[in-house]
Symmetry: C2
Subunit: 245 residues, 2 copies
DNA sequence: AAAGGCTGGATTGTCGACAATCCCGTGCCA
DNA sequence: TGGCACGGGATTGTCGACAATCCAGCCTTT
């Protein structure tokens, strides 16, 4: 087997100054997660250890560790001697997740209203202003948020200042939901309404009204779930007559 | 370094018929988790890879995988080039966990009231009857529940029939709480009250009253947290005058 | 004597090879 | 013709060794 340009990942500690060099397994993990979440490795596809090891230019050791970590995040499923595949999640799974998010993020919103610093609230206000200027939102076609601290929900969760809660929501559920978004390319099909709800939640947080923040957040996520369920339903209906589009 | 009786784990596929043989890493993981939760490996102690590999009679490969899995369960902490140590959790962490449990197990109780089968409810009734006959409960000294399906909370969680919720509560928080129980040897210092509360929760589930079940479960956990906090507080007070006992 | 740098030892991270297991296609047999 | 046993091939699980990194103690220097 010839050397087929193993698409090295940034290993040399050259000019990535503030970035961290970490360990090999860490980089492979980050890279693999991106490739999975963004759909480059489609759900259900096999993750051959040898293949991926060559692809990322590392040995099977670090790669196995990366896969193991992705498994704990429920992004891949592994069966003992058969290999690992990218997890594919059914609508029923996603609905379950949304029901749990309703409880958890509702709690996070309440804690955020109680615990967020004034600086954090100011930053969140600025963030929503940016979102409003987004082109897709203006014409009501899409309201897409990139990963991390430019995501409204992400920031509210962090604002709870409860490490356990943050870990559950970010480490355990966040990326799965994001993966699904990429899967069905569903850019949240009610952009302006969603943004308006975000704004009202922020108002509750600003006035330190925990109960209100929780109520609004629960409602917000509940609505998202309902649109999800209804869309899944009509898909199932049209499914019997034709193969979409 | 001589062969010092490497305390083999049950590797031979002889007479453990219904048991699972799984993979080596699986067995090491289960074994290590027990040793940690039960305090055989005290919190903060170092987990040398070579040492443990010899101790369990396996190579470092499977052992690393086991440690990685325990890390994702927050039972051990690992820093890149320094090694892994048994996680030690402060009371503040535990209080956080209890606050999240309040939301999550409350939801689980509600779902359990809605979704549990009659057979499951009957089994749960029988379980509580057994708990009542426990000696430690009779004289109000301790109410200790072993791990797994002989634990009331464990069964209610399972009864929710929500895989995501089960995974969060069991896979992510359950064992940490159990570890702490072993750490401080605190055999839930209000046995009869706790059992009585369990019984009332069961009654709500039996009558399929989800709201009531949620309310009672939240109250139950909230009380547990309060006793926890007050005990931690008086510990901190006596700490300034003498070294306990 | 204290601070700082350096070397030795030990531990973790990584690698390549071997062994065990499973999947699948082939051929035999009813 | 259908079903079942059996290998061949490939993939995963496991192992031992090498390389990189970190930590502790000693020595040097001011």
């Amino acid at each position: 087997m010839a050397e087929i340009a193993p698409d090295k990942l940034p290993a040399e500690p050259d000019a990535d100054a503030p970035s961290e060099m970490k360990t090999l397994a860490d980089r492979v993990f980050a890279r693999l997660q991106d490739d999975i979440v963004q759909g480059l490795l489609p759900p259900g596809s096999k993750l051959g250890e040898t293949e991926l090891a060559n692809r990322y230019g590392v040995s099977r050791g670090p790669l196995r560790e990366a896969i193991r970590r992705l498994e704990s995040r429920k992004l891949v499923e592994r069966v003992p001697h058969a290999g690992a595949r990218v997890a594919l999640l059914k609508e029923s799974d996603l609905v379950e997740i949304y029901r749990v998010r309703e409880a958890l993020e509702g709690m996070a919103a309440r804690l955020a209203a109680e615990n967020m610093t004034d600086a954090e609230i100011a930053g969140l206000t600025e963030l929503l202003a940016q979102h409003e200027r987004q082109p897709g939102v203006q014409d009501d076609t899409e309201y897409f948020q990139r990963e991390g601290d430019v995501d409204f929900h992400y920031r509210v969760i962090q604002g709870s200042h409860n490490a356990t809660l943050i870990d559950l929501l970010i480490g355990e559920m966040y990326h799965r939901v994001r993966m699904y978004r990429y899967q069905v390319a569903t850019a949240a099909n009610r952009p302006q309404k969603a943004l308006a709800e975000h704004r009202r939640i922020l108002e509750a947080i600003e006035s330190r009204d925990g109960e209100m923040a929780e109520l609004l957040m629960r409602r917000h996520i509940s609505r998202a779930r309902q649109t999800l369920e209804s869309r899944a339903l009509e898909e199932k209906n049209s499914e019997t007559t034709d193969i979409h589009d």
